[in-house]
Symmetry: C2
DNA sequence: GATTTAATCAACACCGTGTCGAGTGAAGTG
DNA sequence: CACTTCACTCGACACGGTGTTGATTAAATC
């Protein structure tokens, strides 16, 4: 990690950039994003504070790069999934939600930092917003399709339902990942989310007799 | 607001404390909590920055006081509600959720700031956590009671379901209050939330034929 | 009127950010 | 092989916000 193969007296710029990213994610495992100083990130990457600014405009820009990677990872996994809902809808929803759950828990630190920072940083806010939007769009489309083929009963405006369910996932997973209270029992997140999704989308309320 | 009735050459301490709270909530209508400086809060209350510290230990302490008031307000409203679910469960849930929705939108700025700050401030985090916990407890109790009387089918661990639904409300209302994207259509929040709650708690998934 | 108590603020020490400008060495150019 | 260029580096500075100290004032109480 420290030296390149054909000894270069200085590590290359790409190495440094990567070192900053690695250091930041490592520090985020145990520390609050706000409590990190640029000096620490620089030191961790073996450079001075001014040099940090050669690679990134700010702490937030580092987080943005980390978040971008995480989001691409979810997109890759969700994109690789089959779009087959007819045979077993519950399992199909489960697979989609699982992609989300896995990446969220693998990159807990980045996700948590991003959620904390988005309220004051437009770039982080917009990046996250954009992916949420695309998941909501996808969810709403599937709900419509399920209603069209008669598998799901008519109900709420599908985009509103889709937005609520996706926002629930975001919040529930964040709470679980950080051991907040209240939170869903550790390990049960996926089961609980799938159940609420399936009941809200397909569920019928028994008529009072 | 500036002077007291029987002219006191200085407004009393209580007035000043209140002025800081009022100024802060006013500034929060249009500005990010992080972007507020203590100097602004002090100036807004007609005092100097050091004097601010006579009343509050930090910006966060001011927010904590504001949040405390908001939470009490929700508790008062929810406490005044009838606990009668037998006759019309959907309406009963709607009334509870409505209390939440109303206070959240009346004090949008405080709620938003509190959500943004909780990740780095233990006091704010704990205060919010504690109220969420009490609402989750209440929700879980009612779900159990509804199952016991046969109104709701058996299902998920009630506390996990209760936690998910309450976390959904928190996130959906925050997104709606701030005009985020994605968010639930403005004005439809209550209808959507109630629908998801009722379906998740009472809903039955039609068996495939 | 003397004393206590609440309230006030100028001045200071501190810390993190972001910038500027001078420097260094490796790689390309005539 | 001199010389220019370019990617990279950092010491030193200016700035802005925080939190504290200690002296000061004015009302309240005795």
């Amino acid at each position: 990690m420290a030296e390149r193969s054909r000894r270069a007296s200085r590590p290359s710029g790409d190495d440094r950039q990567e070192a900053i990213l690695v250091t930041t994610e490592a520090l985020l495992q145990s520390r609050d994003f706000d409590s990190l100083s640029i000096d620490e990130l620089a030191k961790g990457a073996g450079i001075s504070r001014p040099t940090f600014y050669f690679y990134f405009a700010s702490k937030e820009a580092v987080l943005l790069a980390l978040l971008d990677r995480v989001i691409r990872q979810v997109e890759d996994r969700v994109g690789a999934l089959s779009r087959e809902f007819e045979a077993d809808p519950a399992s199909a929803w489960r697979r989609s939600i699982a992609a989300f759950v896995e990446v969220f828990s693998e990159h807990r630190a980045v996700a948590t930092a991003a959620m904390a920072v988005r309220s004051r940083n437009v770039e982080v806010h917009d990046l996250w917003s954009r992916s949420m939007l695309s998941w909501v769009d996808y969810t709403a489309e599937v709900i419509e399709a399920e209603r069209a083929r008669g598998a799901a009963p008519a109900g709420l405006h599908s985009r509103d339902l889709a937005a609520s369910l996706n926002l629930m996932n975001e919040r529930v997973l964040l709470a679980a990942a950080n051991g907040e209270h209240p939170a869903v029992t550790a390990g049960a997140e996926l089961d609980v989310l799938v159940d609420v999704w399936v009941r809200s989308i397909y569920g019928v309320i028994p008529t009072s007799h």
